[in-house]
Amino acid sequence: MTTGHLDATRLAEHAEGLLGAREAAAVEAHLGECEACRATAADLASVSAMLAAAPPTLRTPAHVVARLDRALTDEVTRTPEPAPVIQLSWFRRRAPQLLAAAATVGVLGFAGWVVASGSGDDDAGEATTAESSGGEDARDDAADGGLATDSDLESAEEESAAAPLQSEDGEFPAPPPELADQIRAIAEQGPAERGADDTCGLALAEELGDELVGAAETDVTGEAAVLVVVRSDNPAFVDGWVLPDCDATADEVLTALDVELD
């Protein structure tokens, strides 16, 4: 025990009370007769003191500041959260671009906002449940930082009409709540109420390959516009598209909303 000096780890463990009684007594005995080890013990204490005395702040590097600003700005534009009973679809027209982005950088933008169906229709309920779990898978993938697999992308593409897509670029303003009511009103009238010569919205429906339900004038965006409602791939939902005019196509969409039918 008295041959040579104690190593610093042993002394540090002794200072923390980690040694057993016999070992601690031996260390104490050695310290009593060895000035060098006493000095080492004092130096160990000074390490803690130096750490405690370090300035509490360090200047954040500029690139980190810029990165944090960007992340928080993105976070601000991502809010507010949608109302719970409405599915937002930000937006079907972005789906190909978002999926392409997902394929290259592994970011899947869907997930989030799938809500449980309150529909009495069993098929629709099952469909919604399946989408919900699919959305969570996609979110898990994104959280793990893993690349989406081909099968993920395929299933995502199939679901893209009803599974909501979140706009990554914040291009669209959040649709006002009254838009959902207007969409429902048009959906309740149904195609039967639409005159055979009424082609308003037909261009969009044909582009999307969806059945046109109806169209009406709307001012939800604060200016004269047309609300075109088409049948979603999911029978429990219809899609409302606000367009500048009756002949506009998806590229010109002002805002859009998927609404679950009662």
Binding site: T9, A15, E16, V47, L51, T60, V76
Partner: protein
């Protein structure tokens, strides 16, 4: 209080928190500006790598942004932010520990931890690193424990809870970390090992306690 008395133009942190929860898009950014350097310091020191630290700081701040309504006002905003960022750092430490290989060899400074062994090539090149560089040489789990205990003043029992290990494990990690830092922070000048930094008061490693997040700024 969290407001810097020298700058009373600034509203209190608590007010900014309430504004943020109320939907003010600028309030949280102002909180971040105020406390960023403090949070950066703890992230960099805990993780030892600037990229990891930036990731953890971003994760923590986004988390804080989203969880603002969970702020109860029972601690200073800066303490609350500090805790969230520290947790984000610890998440990373624990995930890294779960991976099979640790890139840092555990014993690379071993020869330096013996005092008074006479002239030694390692002693000859002993240099005084700055604290961040010295911390970066430690294994991740030792570093996290030591930073929280010795730099952030978090009680050992709390650190054990945060790291998900026993109190004795925290103490052991701290002890080994201090021994490794010794030759890096305290130059070994001579055979007898006089304290090389006489201006630093020698205190017991366990007797000092500073509340975390107490930095007014």
């Amino acid at each position: 209080m969290t407001t810097d008395p020298r700058d009373d133009r600034l509203v209190d942190d608590d007010v900014l928190m309430r504004r943020h929860v109320g939907g003010d898009p600028d309030a949280f950014g102002e909180l971040v500006r105020r406390h960023r350097d403090r949070l950066w310091a703890v992230a960099l020191r805990t993780l030892g790598d600037p990229d990891d630290a930036a990731d953890a700081l971003q994760d923590g701040l986004i988390n804080a942004y989203r969880r603002a309504t969970s702020y109860r006002g029972d601690a200073a905003v800066t303490t609350w932010l500090h805790r969230i960022v520290v947790n984000a750092c610890i998440d990373r430490v624990r995930k890294a520990a779960a991976r099979p290989s640790d890139p840092l060899p555990d014993n690379n400074n071993r020869s330096l931890t013996f005092a008074g062994t006479g002239p030694d090539p390692a002693d000859a090149v002993a240099m005084k690193l700055d604290i961040e560089a010295a911390l970066a040489t430690l294994p991740a789990e030792q570093r996290a424990a030591l930073v929280l205990v010795d730099m952030e003043g978090v009680p050992v029992a709390e650190v054990a809870r945060m790291l998900g290990c026993a109190v004795g494990t925290v103490k052991s990690r701290c002890a080994r970390a201090r021994a490794k830092l010794l030759p890096l922070l305290v130059p070994q000048q001579r055979e007898g090992n006089q304290p090389a930094t006489p201006d630093v008061p020698s205190t017991s490693p366990t007797s000092r306690s500073t509340p975390p997040g107490g930095d007014p700024r």
